[in-house]
Symmetry: C2
Subunit: 516 residues, 2 copies
Amino acid sequence: MDSSQFRAAAHSAIDHIIGYYDTIESRRVLSDVEPGYLKKLLPDGPPELGEAWAEIQSDIESKIMPGLTHWQSPNFLAFFPANSSYPGILGELYSAAFTSANFNWLCSPAATELETIVLDWLCKLLSLPECFLSTSSTGGGGVIQGSASEAIVTVIVTARDRYLNYLAADAKTDGEREGIIDAHRHKLVALFSDQAHSSTQKGCLIAGVKHRSIKVPGSSTSNYSLTGPLLRQKIEELKSQGLEPFYLTVTLGTTATCAIDNFAEIAEVLKDYPQIWVHVDAAYAGAALICEEYQHLAVGFAAFDSFNMNMHKWLLTNFDCSCLFVKERKHLLNSLSITPSYLRNPHSDSGLVTDYRDWQIPLGRRFRALKIWFVMRTYGVSGLQAHIRNTISHGEHFAALIKSRPDLFKSITPPAFALTVFVVNTGSGGQMLEMQNKITKAVYERINEEGKVYITSTVLDGIYAIRVVGAGPKVRRETLERAFEVVVEAVVVVRDVGLGAVVDVGEVNQEQVRGV
Amino acid sequence: MDSSQFRAAAHSAIDHIIGYYDTIESRRVLSDVEPGYLKKLLPDGPPELGEAWAEIQSDIESKIMPGLTHWQSPNFLAFFPANSSYPGILGELYSAAFTSANFNWLCSPAATELETIVLDWLCKLLSLPECFLSTSSTGGGGVIQGSASEAIVTVIVTARDRYLNYLAADAKTDGEREGIIDAHRHKLVALFSDQAHSSTQKGCLIAGVKHRSIKVPGSSTSNYSLTGPLLRQKIEELKSQGLEPFYLTVTLGTTATCAIDNFAEIAEVLKDYPQIWVHVDAAYAGAALICEEYQHLAVGFAAFDSFNMNMHKWLLTNFDCSCLFVKERKHLLNSLSITPSYLRNPHSDSGLVTDYRDWQIPLGRRFRALKIWFVMRTYGVSGLQAHIRNTISHGEHFAALIKSRPDLFKSITPPAFALTVFVVNTGSGGQMLEMQNKITKAVYERINEEGKVYITSTVLDGIYAIRVVGAGPKVRRETLERAFEVVVEAVVVVRDVGLGAVVDVGEVNQEQVRGV
């Protein structure tokens, strides 16, 4: 493919993509292909001779599109969103054109420096405490990771090593040091509420440390938040078993219900356990911190060690773009750098040159800062804030519609960050919960089978509930009004069909509500 | 940015990128900006109101370009290449347009299914043994990882858990099982030759296991290969210390000299240690396996557990695209899946539905299979083979030029996979090596300061050497002839200036030769 063939191909691809975005609402949002559909459509191997772009592009429409679930459709109300935007796409385009490995500053100084700059911009925009800036007195800073799960395993590994190094700080020899670490490694335990995202659990598997969850209560007027007393009780219980808590994930916006942990209480308790690394997982809801009305939530974050939010979820920047901030970058380097300290670049220690490979698990990295830069400049602060406020307003409108039909629905938690969680009201009585779960699940399944909108479900204290969250840039007030009609119609149909048609709830897979 | 604004912006960006590629040779290949250059050029925060695309695009040229090291320039002869191509860029463009989280099959069935299909295509194209196909009787298959370093930490974690589960296989209770694992975890040790890429060492840090390297010899007629006897000796030595070897990285094409370990001998030794997981790191040179004349190298790989090669290095697919193949995918799932086995999808066990989140560290993933599909179809098998053979031929031509001037140069190892490693010939005598190192380093530094080409260096058994590898699609025979002239001129200048101007070698940072 030479330059002129690429020009024609790329212009055609751009027009194809615009056509896709302009008509996306007319496509069935959730793909209904059967497993293995694509293998039947493609040959057993690559062609011997090259093919023309026109052949490839026509296969995208005929063979790939039917197997896509359209996350950019306004009818995508499932999981959490994965926002795309035109400036974000341009960022990926330039990033691909500038392909380089970027494992250290010299690989492409602009890639490193722009990342530091736009993450400082983001830090201020989110009103995070000053300690998370690259210029902070604590030596903090931000780094783009692929996903929140990568950010979390990175801080778990770092926290593990900080803790072990603390234990071995007084060792006189390498052998003594290794002995202390070997004797303690298997006692380390990471904590998280049972509403925290599963990535903490997976991060612990990777880091080879134990983990324990803390059960947190919820109700229709409160939410499922981790509190100080619950945390203290668990820490003491584990210590009495000879285990050593070294890490805690707290959450701003849990996956199931967008709950917010009680940060002030947690910070107070942890004054008694200063060796525990606290990470704030704000993967989805953290985006709301760009609006003044949410910034009180971040006031106490200086008490914690790290924070991440995904611009690729709700802030108009294409996946992947998870932004991780740490208060002291030296801990990342101590854990993840394989450059002996005496060989580290003096520019690095001064903060002028950052080798981001030492802030993450992989070595190479794409030039992802470009898309953040393009998005922030194209929308401006006011445009980004308008997007967050619009989608929250649409979500609250949907929650109000649910509330307006108490004959049909019950809210499970207060609406939060554009998310509404509710069940079908099936009245009261002896078998009430069992019946409610069966009907709610039947309604949920009917909606997704029908395919006008795509939603996900969750299970909270044995209650099967429906989640609706429309936070993509194409979501409008009317989109959610129509979604409400779809939900009401599904309830009516399930009631008409009668319980005989309702399948057993059976094993409920919590996996289905997990977002990125 | 609405559709029509995006059309104009994207068409302009495409033209800009074509102009960049068409004239890339005229830019200074290695950026010479000072650390901190970009901060001086950009504001302290994002704009309050959005800006037009034209303003952003003009800043790319004026502010970003000076800070780029141009990896796609034919004058980039450093590290290993990170090949870009026009069809690869189109793959990234569509992937961004289809932004979705892709953490399970239903998220976008096409993303999962195309990945399985094109990795089976690649498996056959590389002539890997049948056990690495998704359809194999061993339950194998391939997965796209971001980089070789991610692939390697993934298999180290998997190997660690397979080994611990093997030790605890007879435990009667969870408590007994945990006790066995706790008692052995700190005894586990991973092995690699001292020429293996540093990502094995980093992977061990992340997985929390010990690691030991095996020193391997080299000469100007052999290369730095790990052999069976060296491996057996190290295993026995570690076992006698009470350690438990559980993992080994072998390499097809080491970073410093493109050495190939002795796979047949290693496989023979490991018959006596069947619990050791062997991973073949073919990150760069693995691409050559698409040509028949290299396929004998892969004949014995069925004896090993996993293999990875990076299409983003030498096979025309934009970073990131590291392809990892395993013989038994169940070990990945046992280690990395947090879905209890009784909840796993029956489609998954049958191999019809793959949830690739359980084959990797992150949860979410981009639709990277598109770019492989576009690249393979656009070039065809013959086009890909021609690219590999052309670049190897150019590399051998460069090596012949080096050999044609024994008065100036000495080869350190035979040329391999387009890479030539050499030193400046400074004659013989008492201080020979010290002088040779000083002169060679001075020549190396002069070449990069001059900036006509960008090369890297390495240190082998105390010998400071220059590496030249031109394996990008824009590299021509004349490019390497010109590079040879640059090297010769640098030697002449350094000789003219005399030793007074030659700086001390000082601390040599092995880091500088590490590729992705």
